[in-house]
């Protein structure tokens, strides 16, 4: 993976110094909170319900074992012993003290990490395919391009105060695992007929209040022009994106308002001036960066390990895990392992300091010291020898990271919701917990098969609800209660689609039964081997809607405490909403 050179180190260290001084000025009231807010946000620091939250950038999801150990250290030293992996491949700590953040960031800088541009109205952390470099369906490894974009966007002077946040995703495989259609800019690396490398460029996708699939602005952009072309997109957006209404300020609204043809015309007009200029990428730079992403020293191994084959016939739990959590690798004898952070009862994406240390050790022993964070809030060991799978599985299981549920019902994507977030209308973590408990039976989950259940606590849709096969979102009914709207038919990937809302909202206690009824319709209607999403596509939303609303839904009894135990009365729970972060 990429390693900092003296320049990267210097830039990040100078950032820590700059931020340290900003905190000093805030604490001495030289800076007002209004002045300080954007500065802290551009370093990843949010104000939440209980404390500050710090978001750390994991560039395109790649992590070294050293960095993971640093997370464990930070969790212990500055937080309450755990962290949260997000849908944008980042890591968040929830219990941070402002005074300690400069030291925390200085600690992070020693392992080539930071919180730069993980928040605020700037270009955010670039996300990519969690299986980059090892996926069998990969056309081009997107990571060198992602790294080049990371550097280019870091402290870009012209684009630090955009109308709104800006997210770029890049994918290099046949299957889109980076959700490029719902990003402000989505890039897919492709080869044209002449074998030249370039990008298909989508612009103006997004979720939140106005879910929309990105429009193609270029079907083929030669790779040399990546930075200048994006610069022109940014410049048009920076000047013309709306600034009067924060809910209409994303680039998708601009593209929709003037149309993709007009938007393209403006971008091309700006670009004409800088195309082939000094911002054009060079072969030398691409090669320099790409050299960090070459294949590790793989051994020559038999395609299938006999030990694994025999163990799986005698151990059903291991067989289940193999089926769901182990993915094919392009090198014979190797496998990609997904460590589940979705154990029932644990907040999706949470990892304890102890787990972080364990994962770091496993990465060192089994996967060349590297790991990845996924947009589904799990972790990946990308280069595991099949002959190591049994011992790896045992260790992962011992530490609660071997739930065989990857891609299944309880592999829920979930935002922090009202337990932490000041913007929430409802809780999402306790709901995910309640649903996981109801459907904990792994045989049932395997029977239901692949399905994506995504949940957000409010309209901002941090939990990707619009592109969930089943999407759940907390809505405001003005009565202080917790209400959820449910959609079906959303999808990410190559057939990205925005789900359709099935009808009036439900309360917290009704939700498990709602999910159950949706699944009942699927089980009744499915054709052989048909996945939930395909059934929805074939029969439409109507049968689901009809059945869910056919008879009244009893509230479920077994509501226990919040997943963290600091909200103690869920029954008469009212959501605390503060102003903005």
């Amino acid at each position: 993976m990429y390693k900092y050179d003296v320049y990267d180190h210097q830039i990040v260290n100078e950032r820590v110094a700059q931020y340290r001084d900003q905190v000093r000025r805030r604490l001495s009231d030289e800076l007002t909170e209004d002045e300080f807010r954007p500065l802290r946000l551009q370093n990843g620091l949010y104000m939440q319900i209980h404390a500050y939250m710090l978001r750390i950038a994991v560039p395109y999801g790649m992590l070294s074992s050293t960095q993971m150990r640093m997370f464990a250290h930070i969790a212990r030293k500055y937080d309450r012993g755990y962290g949260h992996f997000t849908t944008r491949q980042n890591l968040q700590f929830n219990w941070i003290k402002l005074e300690e953040t400069p030291d925390l960031l200085a600690d992070l800088a020693t392992v080539e990490m930071h919180g730069i541009q993980t928040s605020g109205n700037c270009i955010r952390n670039i996300t990519s395919d969690e299986y980059a470099g090892v996926a069998a369906d990969e056309i081009i490894d997107p990571r060198p391009y992602a790294e080049i974009l990371r550097q280019w966007s870091t402290f870009h002077p012209e684009f630090a105060y955009l109308p709104r946040k800006f997210k770029i995703a890049i994918n290099g495989a046949i299957e889109d695992r980076a959700a490029i259609a719902v990003h402000d800019i989505g890039l897919s690396v492709i080869k044209n007929e002449q074998g030249e490398i370039g990008f298909r460029v989508l612009v103006g996708g997004g979720t939140a209040r106005t879910p929309i699939i990105g429009s193609e602005i270029r079907d083929f952009l030669p790779w040399q022009h990546m930075l200048t072309y994006i610069e022109s997109i940014m410049r048009v957006y920076n000047q013309y994106g709306r600034r009067d209404n924060m809910y209409k300020s994303r680039i998708k609204i601009l593209v929709k308002a003037i149309g993709i043809e007009e938007f393209r015309r403006q971008v091309e007009a700006d670009w004409a001036d800088i195309k082939d200029g000094t911002g054009t990428l060079t072969v030398e730079e691409l090669n320099r960066v790409a050299a960090y992403f070459t294949a590790p020293a793989y051994e020559t191994l038999p395609a299938n390990d006999p030990g694994v084959a025999s163990y799986k016939t005698e151990n059903k739990a291991f067989a289940n895990w193999l089926r769901r959590n182990v993915k094919p690798h392009k090198i014979p004898g190797y496998a990609v392992v997904v460590l589940s952070l979705k154990k029932t009862g644990v907040a999706p994406g949470d990892a304890s300091a102890e787990q972080m240390d364990v994962v770091a050790d496993m990465a060192d022993r089994f996967s060349f010291g590297e790991l990845r964070a996924t947009h589904k809030q799990n972790l990946v060991l990308a280069d595991v020898k099949q002959s190591d799978l049994i011992s790896l599985w045992k260790e992962a299981a011992e530490h609660g990271m071997a739930s065989p549920n990857i891609g299944l019902l309880t592999d829920i994507i979930c935002c922090p919701g009202a337990d932490f977030c000041t913007l929430a209308f409802a809780r999402s973590i306790p709901l995910s917990k309640m649903i996981s408990e109801r459907f904990d039976n792994i045989d049932f989950q395997h029977d239901i098969g692949e399905i994506e259940l995504n949940m957000s606590g409010c309209v901002n849709a941090c939990g990707h609800n619009h592109v969930g096969h089943i999407g759940v979102i907390g809505v405001d009914k003005k009565d202080g209660g917790e209400w959820y709207q449910v959609s079906v038919g959303g999808a990410q990937g190559n057939d990205a689609a925005i789900g359709k809302i099935i009808g009036p909202s439900f309360n917290f206690q009704q939700m498990p039964e709602v999910i159950d009824r949706l699944l009942q319709v699927y089980v009744r209607e499915r054709l052989e081997e048909e996945l939930f999403i395909d059934t929805v596509r074939r029969i439409g939303m109507a049968p689901f809607k009809e059945f869910v609303y056919a008879t009244p839904i009893e509230a479920e009894e077994s509501v226990d405490k919040s997943a963290y135990g600091f909200i103690d009365k869920p029954d008469n729970y009212t959501v605390q909403r503060k102003s903005r972060f």
Binding site: E14, R15, Q22, Q151, F155, E158, T278, G279, L281
Partner: protein, 173 residues
């Protein structure tokens, strides 16, 4: 006092801002060194163009192309930041310099604060009028927060990868 060419210097320009009951056509432009709003320049061009010393300022929602072909008439062009979070001024400055060829003093006015000035200087501003309630000597420090940058902008024609020889993996420790 303003910051110009990385130093605190005295300044005798005044910025003309229209009050609610004034219009670009009717406002009287004082005889002194004045930076007038773009609209005033456009409305009173005939009167103003013979002045030996004149400045103009752009609001964040105005287009620099409106000054196409006449940027050299001004001793100073200013760009107003109504709120520091309104980033349009950065692209306005870039366009004034890179596309309209303006080489004279480019001044940031309005909600100009220390922590934005490093970026402002990169897109072509060489003069800053920090908000009057802030210490100007303190603000000056904002220009030197970083000693290296990755990307091209107005101040730096070459991106880092064309400017220096960066270590590759072979030499990385």
């Amino acid at each position: 006092m303003i910051i110009k060419n990385k130093a605190v210097v005295s300044d005798d320009w005044t910025v003309l801002r229209l009050s609610e009951n004034e219009t670009p056509e009717s406002v009287t432009v004082p005889a002194a060194k004045v930076i007038v709003p773009l609209k005033v320049w456009q409305a009173q061009r005939a009167k103003l163009q013979n002045r030996t010393e004149l400045g103009v300022w752009l609001a964040s929602n105005e287009r620099p192309e409106e000054l196409k072909g006449e940027v050299e008439k001004f001793d100073v062009i200013a760009v107003d930041f109504p709120k520091f979070a309104d980033g349009r001024g950065y692209s306005i400055a870039y366009n004034l310099r890179a596309r309209l060829g303006y080489v004279g003093e480019l001044r940031a006015i309005g909600d100009v604060l220390r922590d934005q000035m490093f970026y402002m200087q990169r897109v072509g501003f060489d003069a800053f009028a920090p908000r009057p309630d802030k210490n100007i000597h303190d603000a000056l420090k904002g220009l030197t927060d970083f000693s290296e940058t990755y990307q091209t902008s107005l101040d730096q024609k070459l991106p880092l990868f064309r400017r220096v020889k960066r270590d590759g993996i072979a030499t990385a420790g």
